[in-house]
Amino acid sequence: DTGTLAHDLPNYLREQGGEKSDCSLRPFPVSFAQLGWDHWIIAPHRYNPRYCKGTCPHLLRYDYHAPNHAVVQSFVHQLVDASVPRPSCVPYRYSPISVLMIERNGGILYKEYENMIAESCTCR
């Protein structure tokens, strides 16, 4: 039945109020001043890890880099058993963040923390 799915996709999107309901990156800025840490974290002033939110479409487009299993699970949800959930919208790629901070003994530390900022989303 993929033909019918592809056929009703535009309507489905419209029902959900347009593009924004699709699985996509959302900002989540945290300012170190809010945490009261700005007296020892010199840079950056804020950290925006971002997060993924939204509905995974019935037909997973190539730009979602979704694994084959996600495609199968989407079909199972649509065509076989709706109690099987749709694939989830989660981060796909990450980037590190560099932090400059003052240490207890007055030293100054530059450190890169891996996988701290979501760069893109996938459905899986």
Binding site: L35, R104, G106, I108, L109, E112, I117
Partner: protein, 218 residues
């Protein structure tokens, strides 16, 4: 447009991995007095940070610094009057105890200003390594000239002896005031040279420990 949650409502242990990792380094309560990280060391590290990362904190190029951790260690001086006539002499010690095990030393350099201009004269400076107490001293010559008049001396061989690392590094900061005799400048002490440790943190990519209970294999 959510208004930021009041600080009081934040969880005692922030759930974001970065915040958890940073919290282990937090110097205690917000009332903690900031250490003496100011002036030249702070400006040097801020310039380094701006070359390495953008405003969002994302590294500009992968490993542009060749490592994921750089620690600036400030010197402790032994007190006393460093000036004798034209000569400035200061004995300095850099304490290296308590380095986290996961941080492996790749390179170590001492950064200082070889030349400082005063109002009517100039201060010319050099570094001496103090070996085995005061028994002998080695004049250190710069191995790089990064920018803004700084000079770097590679001291890696003196910090890693065989398989072990030393607990501290002792230097002498020696300067002479060059200029017309009789020109009287106020005696300005040059800033202490600072030690840069280029480290590879093998745990920089890990989530905080004990993130998941251990599951038994079925």
């Amino acid at each position: 447009n959510q208004s930021p949650p009041p600080l009081g409502s934040l969880p005692a242990v922030p759930t974001l991995p970065l915040l958890q990792a940073l919290q282990t380094r937090a110097p205690g309560s917000p009332g903690w007095q900031v250490g003496p990280a100011s002036g030249q060391p702070l400006r040097y590290m801020l310039n380094l940070y701006r070359r390495a990362a953008d405003r969002e904190g994302r590294p500009r190029r992968r490993r542009s610094l060749g490592t994921n951790t750089i620690r600036l260690v400030q010197a402790t001086s032994h007190g006393g009057q460093p000036w004798t006539g034209r000569w400035y002499l200061q004995a300095l010690t850099y304490h290296l105890e308590g380095q986290p095990e996961a941080e492996h030393l790749l390179r170590a350099t001492v950064v200082y200003l070889p030349s400082l201009s005063l109002a009517r004269s100039r201060l010319l400076c050099a570094l001496e390594l103090v070996v085995a107490g005061e028994a002998s001293r080695v004049l250190l010559s710069p191995t790089a000239r990064p920018h803004h008049g700084w000079a770097e001396v590679d001291v890696t061989p003196y910090l890693v002896l065989g398989n072990s690392s030393v607990g501290s590094l002792a230097l002498r900061h020696v300067c002479v005031r060059a200029g017309r005799t009789g020109s009287h400048d106020t005696l300005v002490a040059p800033g202490h040279p600072f030690l840069l440790l280029y480290l590879n943190d093998t745990q920089a990519g890990l989530a905080p420990p004990a993130a998941e209970p251990h599951r038994h294999r079925r």
